[in-house]
Structure formats: structure tokens, C-alpha cells
Point group: C2
Chain length 245, copies 2
């Protein structure tokens, strides 16, 4: 299968860059704090970032003491920005799909992936590859769209009241795994839905021990500042897992 590369598409890229440039977004408020809350001490560690995008996380891993960071991404356009904005003598950016990480021929202490795994068709194969390139006791930490999001396969995602408030999520096809097409700046963005249990069992079957699972929810303090995020109480946007070899 040819890996999808929407992040190289001009329209997608500009739309995506715009929401990432806005500092108040769900990534900054929920996903990134949850991801870093699970991070082990990175001092002198070797870190691999799968789908590193603009390289912000790679830079932060170096700031946390990592001795070497490899960031891979399928989008050259993303990596151009990473090289300009987040370069460091101890970061290597490589333009490759994460389905080919065995070709790196290198072992790591920590593998991280932020919001990229729902684009991967063969989760089992990838998880096995990650297990193999980790040192013993190494950790794999990732975020992805919550399965309550990835299951969506068209139609209205929400039912709203007459004022436009979200009353409930229209949840369908949670039990039907596989490809979903969605629109996100451009048509035909392909994602892959897996249930909570498939994700958990795939990790366990590869040999990993589950250490923590997070579905980030807004605190009272965040709701006070950004009341729109109350919708997350109906359905968290993200799922994060920390597992150990």
C-alpha cells in the first residue's frame, strides 16, 4: 500500500499550518500536555519520533536532555520547516514513512508518535516493528484520535439543539474496524478505525506491558477559560497510551 501523504498537499498544508499557528487549540490544551506527562526522564536517551511534522517535539526532547533524536515524516514540506525552525546538531530529520522504520537499523530508548497512528493501515505490523527497534525496557508513547472519533463514517457527527449546542455524539459503526474517509481541509483523508480493545490487544500481543492510558478531558479551570471545550465531556478527542517493552 502506498502511504498517504496529505501533509504534502498544498491546501491541506496551509489549513493545517494555520490551526497549529493558533496557540489555543486542542493539541496544546489537551494532547501535548498528556503526551509529555507520560514521558520518562530523557537524559542521555535516544528518541525516535514517528510523524514528527514541524519537529517541535523533537526540539523539546533535546531540551529535556535526550542525546539523540530521529524525527521521521512522509511530508518533505513539513520537514523543511522542521529543519528551519527546530534544528539541532543532535536531531536528524528523515523523510520516510513510519512503515519503514526497520530500515533505520538502529535501536531507541523511547519511541513517540503524536497524532499520526490513525493514518496507519497495518497497526499490528507497525507495533511489532516498534517493539523490535526498542531496547529492553524501552517505552513507546503515542497519541491518536480517540476511537470514538475514528469510527465516524459520514453524516452529521453531532446532534445539536436549536441554538447549535452539541447535545450528543451520533455514534455509529464503532464495532466496524477499518478505513474511513473524512474531510479535513481536503477531501478523502484516509484514517483507520480500531476499537479500544484492538489497540490494547495489539500492543499486548506484540509483547508490550500497558503502563498508562489517557483520554484527556477538560478541567474546570480550562472550561472556565474556554467553555467551548465542554463538548469533550461527551467525547474525548484523543487517546494516549504508554507501553513498555
Amino acid at each position: 500500500m502506498a502511504q498517504q501523504n496529505i501533509y504534502n498537499n498544498e491546501v491541506f498544508f496551509e489549513g493545517y499550518k494555520k490551526i497549529r499557528d493558533n496557540k489555543i487549540n486542542a493539541n496544546n490544551l489537551f494532547e501535548i500536555p498528556a503526551l509529555f506527562s507520560m514521558m520518562p526522564d530523557l537524559k542521555d536517551k535516544k528518541v525516535l519520533d514517528l510523524g514528527c511534522g514541524f519537529g517541535e517535539h523533537c526540539k523539546r526532547f533535546i531540551d529535556c536532555g535526550a542525546k539523540k533524536v530521529v524525527g521521521i515524516d512522509i511530508s518533505e514540506k513539513m520537514l523543511d520547516i522542521a529543519g528551519n525552525e527546530n534544528s539541532d546538531p543532535n536531531i536528524v530529520y528523515i523523510n520516510m514513512p513510519m512503515e519503514k522504520i526497520v530500515e533505520l537499523n538502529e535501536k531507541f530508548d523511547v519511541v513517540v508518535s503524536s497524532l499520526a497512528l490513525h493514518y496507519v493501515e497495518d497497526f499490528e505490523e507497525l507495533v511489532n516493528d516498534i517493539y523490535n527497534i526498542l531496547y529492553t525496557e524501552g517505552v513507546f508513547i503515542f497519541s491518536q484520535e480517540n476511537p470514538l472519533c475514528t469510527c465516524h463514517s459520514g453524516g452529521n457527527r453531532w446532534t445539536r439543539d436549536e441554538k447549535g449546542n452539541k447535545i450528543h455524539l451520533n455514534l455509529a459503526d464503532y464495532g466496524i474496524e477499518g478505513e474511513r474517509e473524512s474531510v479535513w481541509f481536503v477531501d478523502n483523508v484516509k484514517k483507520y478505525h480500531r476499537t479500544f480493545s484492538t489497540i490494547i490487544n495489539t500492543l499486548i500481543n506484540a509483547g508490550f506491558t500497558i503502563e498508562k492510558m489517557i483520554e484527556p478531558l477538560p478541567t474546570d479551570k480550562i472550561l472556565e477559560q474556554y467553555p467551548d471545550y465542554k463538548d469533550l465531556l461527551h467525547k474525548p478527542d484523543f487517546l494516549l497510551l504508554k507501553v513498555r517493552k
Copy 2:
């Protein structure tokens, strides 16, 4: 907190008995096969069944070679039937809430609970108690209502088309944990909603290793025979976990 004892209520009891007497139900088709698929070899093992009800599982554990089974339940009416229909010299039925298992003052190789834990308010305390009464390497296997069910807090659970077919689940308040009141034969059945991540993290924090998670879904063969169960593809009814000390 006083443990809720709906299973002693006459109306509830008769309604419940009726669906359990019907052999074609979601328990027999999905929950029980999934539960037993996770069971270790019970030969010469000591088993504790939390919320044993009519004792069918207790009897089956003996048939599988268990040397001793303790079945506890808060409903005397249930245990009367268990004593009549599923007695065995190596089964002891005790009328007690599962919140008091430490008072058994006994250790077990396997702790099982079938569709009872969503009635328990303090999941963390119970999980810690279960950990403590298990021998090292002992397993805890349980089923409960899926979090996509327990989160429901009133109103229509489903949106249907004009023919009455379920189009989607009306999912709300998944991120709001705690008590829910529902109607199941009688009013005010109290259940407790916990997210997938709370359930997983509570088990891990108690010291357990997650070994398997199942959200049973209908196979093509079951759908051919019982097409009504296609609704489970929108939302599985059950969640099962196997964890090891």
C-alpha cells in the same frame, strides 16, 4: 454507602429471571463465551465469583476442575436458587457484598465477576482488595457493561429511522464519571460510569498487568441467525478484561 440490592426486589427478580431463562440472549451469545475464552486452566484452582447470582458459573468452574469455588452475592433470593440448582460439595455460597471480600480471609487463584462491577461505587478500593486476596500470578477476569453503555444518563439511548431501526447511539457525558440512574425492570437502578482509561489505569495502579480486553461483537454467523444483534456493531454491550497479579 449501603450496597444496592436490586436483585432482591420482587419485580426486578422476576423480570431478570425471565431474560436469563430465555437461552437466546446477549449474555449467552456474547458475554459468557468471551468470559470463558479468557479463563485459565482451573484444575485444582481456588476460584472466587463476585456477584455469582444463580451460581451457573460456579458450577461450571467445578466442572472445569476447580478444587474449591466461593460464590458471593448480596441477593439471598439469587443464592437460594444457586443452592438449589447449582450446588456442589466444593462450592460455598455466601450472602455478602463484594465490598467486604477481605473478610473472607482467604486467598484465591482466580477471581471472576460477571456483569456486576458497574454496580460498584468504589472501583479502586475493590480492585485493591481483589489484588490482595489473589495469590501471586493469580488472575482477575471480569465483564461489565461497556463504558459506551454505562455513560448513558437519560433520554433516548438511540436515534432510529422511520422503520424503527437504530441509526446511531446518542452518546453523551462519556467524560463525566460517577453515578447513573437507570430503569431496568424497576426504577432507580444505580450504576457507576467509568471511562475505558479509568478502568485500565485503576487496574494498573493496583499492580495488575493487563493481559486481554474484549468488547464482544457479533460474527457473520451470529448475524445470519440473529440479525437484530447488528446493533452491537454500533455499540458493544460488554467490556471484558483479564488481568494478572
